[in-house]
């Protein structure tokens, strides 16, 4: 068999699976090619923590033997992937992006890693992240033991966080897909900034056993891929109940495009003000063009507004209180001072002082938020909004710089990232164009456990556009 051609690095799961089964190249050859690329290119973007070449090649040999005997498992068999370094992999260090946890190991694989292993996917590396997934907040892109995540579209810009490595590794063609995690924006943001498709599942759909805990009532694990269909294929394998995860909803997910409702039967809620005023002027044309594409699919559109709650304050209070509790030992030991970001250090310490009454108040208001979204979803099936108002910031820019633009005339759906995370809603970020030569994206946000609906509209969107197929300039 021949060495895999360079186009494999940007192929989808379905395309690679077909070519592996056609024996165009072997799993070993494919794995070697991806390991080479991840080690060389991934390191350039501060995306790679640890190559797992040896173990990956051992599994690839086994996979080739299976394929030879027609023991076929499914579309992920033989597909190379990476995981954010907050997921445990037996026998390998899992540092959570943070210097105080360097060299930390766990006795078992994270549940999602075990599931993907069973599905035949081949883990080739652990990927960089913002330290402790950024909890409770951080001020600079350099908040990581491995340095700032660099964007393959422009290395002077940030890849986004906290799943920085998964975002840049998928964008740069170093892995076919990656697993990230989101507490409040950590899948959607790097997906949008790096021009990849990212899916945040409903809270409780994917087990977090073996994953670092930041905020128990908000943490979720999800795929970052080349297309929404790839996200669906990965979610199909990693979703499912788990008695060992107290947050598990005990539900599974079956990717069933054949049963998807027609776009004409789906109502999409959106707010014109998001596209006209909340977005950066440079990104406005891309967002408006994306809205036109969604309209052309034949969906019913309805103008809506996000329920009125202080979402940032709610998410901030809950993540601070839960995160500081989760890392109380680190804080009390003083080793928290080894983190890179001084704002994050101060935030973790201050989180221990949040009164119980404030945390309880936030959690009670959160119950109202959930009820308000249940009401909103009586009228719509999906919400559509820009994933982020604009493209990735420069590496050196402080992330808390106040906006210099005048406030919009209404709230629209701004604040959907904290709101969607507080309400546990699923979302998918779809690349939709460019601003300042950097990718921008829209998000579809669905009802809890209705991932198939947003996937079907996402697929229809990507059938009409090729933004998800674009490659960074260095790799075209």
């Amino acid at each position: 068999m021949a060495k895999p051609p360079a186009d494999v690095f940007f192929a989808t799961i379905a395309e690679l699976s077909k070519r592996l089964r056609a024996k165009e190249f072997s799993t070993v050859e494919l794995t070697k090619a991806f390991c080479d690329r991840l080690e060389q290119t991934g390191s350039r973007y501060n995306a790679l923590v640890l190559s797992m070449r040896k173990e990956a090649l051992r599994k690839a040999h086994n996979t080739d033997a299976e394929i030879k005997r027609d023991r076929l498992k499914g579309p992920l068999q033989g597909i190379p992937y990476g995981v954010k370094d907050l997921l445990a992999v037996k026998g390998y260090p899992t540092a959570w992006g943070a210097r105080p946890f360097a060299g930390q190991t766990f006795p078992d694989d994270a549940h999602v890693v075990a599931k993907l292993d069973k599905a035949g996917a081949i883990l080739i590396g652990k990927l960089c992240m913002v330290e402790l997934a950024g909890g409770p907040s951080y001020r600079f892109a350099g908040a990581s033991a491995t340095g700032p995540g660099l964007n393959p579209w422009d290395q002077t810009r940030w890849s986004g966080g906290s799943s920085s490595g998964p975002g840049s590794a998928v964008a740069a063609g170093c892995v076919t897909f990656a697993l990230g995690s989101e507490t409040s924006g950590s899948i959607l943001t790097p997906s949008a900034f790096c021009g990849v498709t990212g899916l945040r599942p409903t809270y409780g759909l994917v087990s977090r056993r073996g994953a670092m805990a930041l905020a128990w009532t908000m943490d979720k694990i999800g795929p970052m891929c080349r297309s929404v269909e790839d996200c669906a294929l990965v979610l199909h394998e990693i979703a499912g109940g788990d008695n060992e995860d107290p947050g598990s909803a005990g539900k599974g997910f079956t990717y069933a495009p054949q049963f998807a409702r027609k776009p004409q039967e789906i109502t999409v809620g959106y707010a014109p003000v998001d596209f006209e005023e909340w977005s950066d002027p440079a990104a406005g044309p891309a967002f408006e063009a994306a809205l036109e594409v969604v309209k052309s699919l034949g969906v019913k559109l309805k103008v809506v507004e996000i329920p009125d709650f202080p979402y940032q304050a709610l998410a901030g209070t809950i993540i601070s209180a839960e995160g500081s509790s989760a890392f109380e030992d680190l804080i009390r030991s003083g080793r928290v001072d080894e983190l890179n970001d001084s704002r994050q250090i101060a935030g973790l310490k201050a989180g221990l002082e949040i009164p119980a009454s404030e945390y309880l108040r936030a959690m009670r208001i959160r119950a109202l938020v959930q009820a308000a979204f249940r009401n909103l979803y009586y009228d719509v099936d999906l919400l559509l909004t820009p994933s982020r108002p604009g493209p990735a910031p420069k590496i050196s820019d402080p992330l808390d710089a106040p906006s210099t633009r005048p406030p919009a005339k209404s709230r629209g759906l701004s604040g959907m990232i904290p709101a969607g995370n507080l309400a546990g809603l699923p979302a998918v970020s779809l690349p939709c164009g460019f601003a300042d030569k950097m990718p921008v994206a829209i998000s579809l946000v669905g009802r809890p456990f209705f991932e198939n609906e947003m996937i079907s509209i996402g697929r229809a969107f990507q059938a009409q556009t090729d933004w998800h197929r674009r490659r960074p300039p260095a790799d075209t």
């Binding site: 101060a346 949040i354 404030e358 109202l368 959930q370 809890p448």
Partner: protein, 68 residues
């Protein structure tokens, strides 16, 4: 054994030492650069103010058993 006021004070002093050192072990809030600590405290205070403005019916229970 009778518990005297003096023995209670002595017991409290013994218990207070580890508690105090736990709070200040390594570095307390004061060890962080003051600008960051102040910014974080100000943000938490703003958060608390915003949450206090939300009208909350007394029967509303916290979303502790959180299911989406």
């Amino acid at each position: 054994m009778a518990v005297t006021r003096r023995s209670l004070v002595q017991m409290a002093a013994v218990l207070a030492v580890p508690a105090a050192s736990a709070q200040t072990a390594g570095s307390g809030p004061a060890a962080a650069p003051s600008g960051d600590a102040q910014a974080v405290q100000a943000q938490l205070a703003r958060n608390a103010q915003l949450l206090a403005q939300v009208k909350l019916p007394p029967e509303t229970e916290p979303a502790f058993h959180f299911k989406a």
